[in-house]
Symmetry: C2
């Protein structure tokens, strides 16, 4: 039986299994979901064990890690480390979902659910590919370690210590991660880069408590106004980040790769329409793909101060908060970026308020080197499944653990993603293309074969 | 029996009645409290009726008005209109109250509850003074109309039509309002001015829905950043409001009155410490009392955008909102101020976002003319009760209906308030001085007598 036939036979079963996984609201950022996060971990462990891998869940200081392994390919074959995450972003605001986030359903050729793309749906492709191979061949073409964590959406704080502690057990030659998107429908893609992250919270305090804006307004500092003034200094009029030293140490991209972006099937206007923004924005003198893939950003992710409910409340707030995060490019260091922000804020903030910059979490940026064995195996697998050569792209998002994996395990990573643009990974109505269940599994089987083939 | 003896006799009863009134959570801004607002209105009507006034509640397009009257003093005596409001500000954030906002209690010589000062507690002083006079003398020294509304904290939208519709029934010579504070403990005060109000909401929209800050960040407009940039333009570096035309038509104060502020028992440092702010702030070249009483303000009352919960969410928000209100001084017109703000925002906002400025509510500023009969009666009543001449002060807050009362009824208003500075009128831990129950009632009885005495 061909791979495609086997996939056709189990189409229903695959979706039923995936839906069970997606129904678990494994929101790692919310303490009230800790039990659900653990259930999702157990679900992964049971799936691996059912496929015939050795599997267990391992405690960390936070959410547990699901760990599986199979070394039956023998020492002469390489070992592939498959990394994914079973935790998901918060689903709020719930009212904006067309169907409930944790009740997956298929509409218009898409699977709709929180985690369908990021990353439960894509982690599941590996679990299903391994199961299929074990069931049909009784073995895998490579030695495999599977590591699924439950804290990717909150900064993977406990994963690095975990990698260091289990370095031997995780020893591998190639790392593969499916947590990204193809460039366009029908256009298989190889990811060359990930941006890093420095996530902060700026807190401004004025008076001890909220005050009447009439009785005190005009004579007492307003932390909301002061916060706005601080945020307004973070970019210059050209859209370039205006923090002293911020751009130091950035390694420019290969000019040829940047020029290659122009050949990609990409329309700025279609992109703009897809998100419904009046105009595009960003750093002057750069194309949209350059802005997204090759340039750092500074975004306000949240604002809160004073009264935000129905009607009017004439309050002079005591405090104001902004969540401000930076996407970073090689070789910006997250901790140094936070220090630069602190220095900037200290310089521009009014002395009439108290300002604090909290370092919430960070992750280093990453860039691949095309041509290595994992990279070429991925190229071959994608070409085989999709019938065309993959394009080389960048990615604006972050998988902070990727550069750490490489550093700790001494292996290179390959990013092989099957979501599509506009998947709403961190927004309401997240989705994954239904047809990519089969395409993804087929690609992964080809990839495992290519990595395992002596050559 | 002297007035003081009568008050001593009923000390318990007065507090028990007031506490019943304060326990009703009559939050006019919240639709879920509509029933409580109505209960508070009924409570006022019943109290007036029990004192022997004609009383009823009158429906409006919003919350009802409690109306009472007694015209037994005869046509040769003046008619006094007593205005107050039985609605209160929202109590949130609830966690910052030492005792629950709607469970009044006495601690440290203060009555703690939402509405204790603004304005249920002070409205109650009039109700109690009327009751005491009717019980002890069987009559009042003046003809009286009592009007208590339930929409003061949401802009008194339906009161002006009400005044116009009931103009005959409300016909009066002097209007008295107790909804303000004395300048300091033991320092009786006559209020010369109120600031007006223009309350707006600025809404900024970027993309159609929240987006992943990695996948889209750097290429899509960020409404939170754009909102911050708009807010940062509202003042110049000297703390002066930087909206074109904003200061046009402001009538400067009498220099002598401004100089008189310097004689008031006021310490900027004590004021600063009382609110716990690192420094004072405001328009350069003006004293704190000038800033509070004589100058307009622009304050951010609330900010909301994106993710504001626990942990980190890497979201690029679709929208951002600021509640922005202006305190106005004669003769700034609220509607014109909103138009100027709209023009300003249209000029400074990025074309990459959609910006809307909503006019939430407004009220005109007010200034008294010392020397009229109501003003002098108040001076005499305060001096008699407190044993010293009242000082003349301004007030930073707004009672938007005051100038409208004067205009529609053709009478002058007197503001006779008994709260104290720092009463937390729009903040957690609102309070009213316990001893001012008796002092307030005594002053009001003296005031009614003075207004009613043929002179």
């Amino acid at each position: 039986m061909s791979l495609q036939d086997a996939l056709r036979d189990r189409a229903q079963q695959l979706r039923s299994e995936l839906f069970d996984f997606l129904r678990i609201p494994s929101v790692s950022a919310r303490s009230e979901h800790a039990g659900d996060v653990r259930r999702a971990c157990d679900w992964v462990v049971e799936h691996l064990a059912a496929s015939g891998l050795e599997a267990r869940s391992v405690e960390t200081a936070g959410h547990p890690v699901a760990l599986g392994s199979w070394h039956g390919a023998g020492p002469e074959r390489p070992t592939l480390l498959i990394y994914g995450h079973y935790d998901v972003q918060p689903a709020e605001p719930l009212g904006l979902w067309t169907s409930p986030p944790f009740e997956p359903e298929i509409r218009d050729g898409r699977i709709w659910a929180r985690g369908a793309a990021d990353d439960k749906g894509q982690l599941f492709l590996h679990l299903a590919a391994l199961q299929l191979l074990m069931e049909t061949r009784g073995r895998l073409p490579v030695n495999v370690v599977v590591l699924a964590e439950g804290e990717e959406e909150v900064g993977s704080e406990n994963l690095l210590p975990f990698l260091e502690r289990h370095r031997e057990e995780l020893s591998s030659d190639i790392i593969v991660i499916s947590d990204s998107a193809m460039f366009a429908p029908g256009v298989p893609s190889l990811l060359l880069s990930l941006r890093g992250m420095a996530y902060t919270e700026i807190r401004v305090r004025g008076a001890r408590s909220d005050l009447h804006s009439g009785a005190y307004g005009g004579a007492i500092p307003n932390p909301a106004t002061e916060l706005a003034r601080i945020l307004a200094t973070l970019h210059d009029p050209e859209g370039r980040i205006a923090i002293d030293g911020f751009h130091d140490g950035i390694v420019e991209w290969d000019e040829e790769i940047i020029r290659g972006f122009d050949d990609l099937p990409f329309s700025e206007d279609t992109f703009r329409q897809s998100v419904g923004a009046p105009r595009l924005a960003g750093e002057a003198g750069r194309s949209t793909l350059e802005r997204l893939w090759t340039r750092p950003t500074c975004e306000v992710n949240g604002l809160l101060s004073g009264y935000t409910g129905e009607g009017a409340k004439t309050v002079l707030p005591a405090e104001a908060m902004a969540k401000v995060s930076f996407r970073l490019v090689p070789d910006q260091e997250p901790a140094r970026i936070v220090e630069l922000l602190r220095a900037h804020v200290a310089r521009v903030a009014s002395p009439a308020v108290q300002v604090e910059v909290l370092d919430i979490h960070g992750g280093r940026p990453w860039r691949a080197t095309p041509g290595g064995p994992g990279f070429e195996a991925a190229r071959e697998a994608l070409a085989g499944t999709f019938g065309r050569e993959p394009v080389v792209t960048g990615e604006g998002g972050s998988i902070p653990i990727v550069p750490e994996f490489e550093r700790v395990l001494g292996a290179r990573a390959v990013l092989l993603g099957f979501a599509l643009p506009g998947a709403n990974m961190h927004a309401p109505d997240e989705w994954f293309p239904d047809a990519h269940i089969e395409k993804g599994i087929e690609t992964l089987v080809r990839f495992y074969d290519a990595v395992g083939s002596p050559g």
